[in-house]
């Protein structure tokens, strides 16, 4: 089991930050002990949350930044992404699986975050939105010694 760890980054509101955050998510989820499929899902959820923050929240504004935090404690990986935008109410985002929305070009980001994570929380901050993504390790993700305790 890895020692509990919490690391924060201040990211620019750019597409490059989205790609960097995705790569970091892959690295942290690997260190946390998740299998390849789960790591891929976590990376995608982080990518979608970062797109949300950089594009829809901060609008690529160079003055605004995104705070990205990874926290691992041996049981779960918690990722927090905070933008400085106008604030997002997830209840106002239409269901992308509804027949009338199925062929829309956008609106699937939050759905994908929820599809790949165990828990997704939204909190309005001043200014902006904080998205918390949580993925829990299952017993079969842990090494045998850890799982038996």
């Amino acid at each position: 089991m890895t020692a509990p760890q919490r690391v924060s980054y201040r990211m620019e509101s750019t597409l490059e930050s989205v790609n960097k955050a995705e790569a970091m998510a892959e690295q942290f989820s690997s260190q946390s002990g998740f299998d390849e499929d789960t790591r891929s899902g976590i990376s995608m959820a982080v990518r979608e949350a970062m797109i949300n923050a950089v594009l829809h929240g901060n609008g690529y504004d160079p003055v605004k930044s995104v705070k990205l935090t990874f926290e691992q404690n041996g049981r779960e990986l918690i990722i927090t992404i905070t933008d400085q935008g106008k604030g997002l109410d997830p209840a106002e985002v239409p269901d992308p699986l509804a027949p009338e929305n199925l062929m829309k070009q956008s609106g699937r980001g939050i759905f994908l975050m929820r599809a790949f994570m165990d828990e997704v929380r939204f909190r309005k901050v001043d200014p902006g939105t904080e998205i918390t993504l949580i993925k829990r390790l299952q017993n079969n993700d842990l090494d045998p010694q850890e799982a038996s305790t």
């Binding site: 199925l102 070009q105 956008s106």
Partner: protein
């Protein structure tokens, strides 16, 4: 990280061989421009070969939907070929797998286009 698109013609069908990632930014733009260019030339039977596409994000999904709609609105057909497991699963969970006409075999896909 970037995406590459190359086109070839087989029996009146334009096959677009895509490789890389269809994501927000360059990947989505390459796909959009390629389909727009083909429609501009009157090539309306389009088969997107996604066999070498390793990753698609929500923006890439949106671009596929947009391409499908644009082609259909101009009286054409767009089909998908050789989905990787990741892309297949993504289209399943977004309920788009049954919207797109997905094929596993290139020759079969080409004959499936209306004459």
């Amino acid at each position: 990280m970037s995406m590459k698109a190359s086109t070839r013609q087989v029996d009146g069908v334009t096959i677009v061989d895509l490789s890389g990632r269809i994501t927000l930014g360059e990947g989505s733009v390459v796909l959009r421009d390629t389909v727009k260019d083909l429609l501009g030339k009157g090539q309306k039977k389009i088969l997107l070969n996604l066999g070498d596409v390793s990753y698609i994000d929500s923006s890439g999904i949106g671009e596929l939907v947009s391409a499908f709609t644009s082609v259909r609105n101009q009286g054409g057909e767009l089909k998908l070929l050789h989905l990787t497991k990741k892309v297949h699963d993504l289209l399943q969970i977004t309920k788009l797998y049954t919207v797109f006409d997905v094929k596993d075999d290139e020759a079969g896909a080409i004959t499936a286009f209306g004459k």
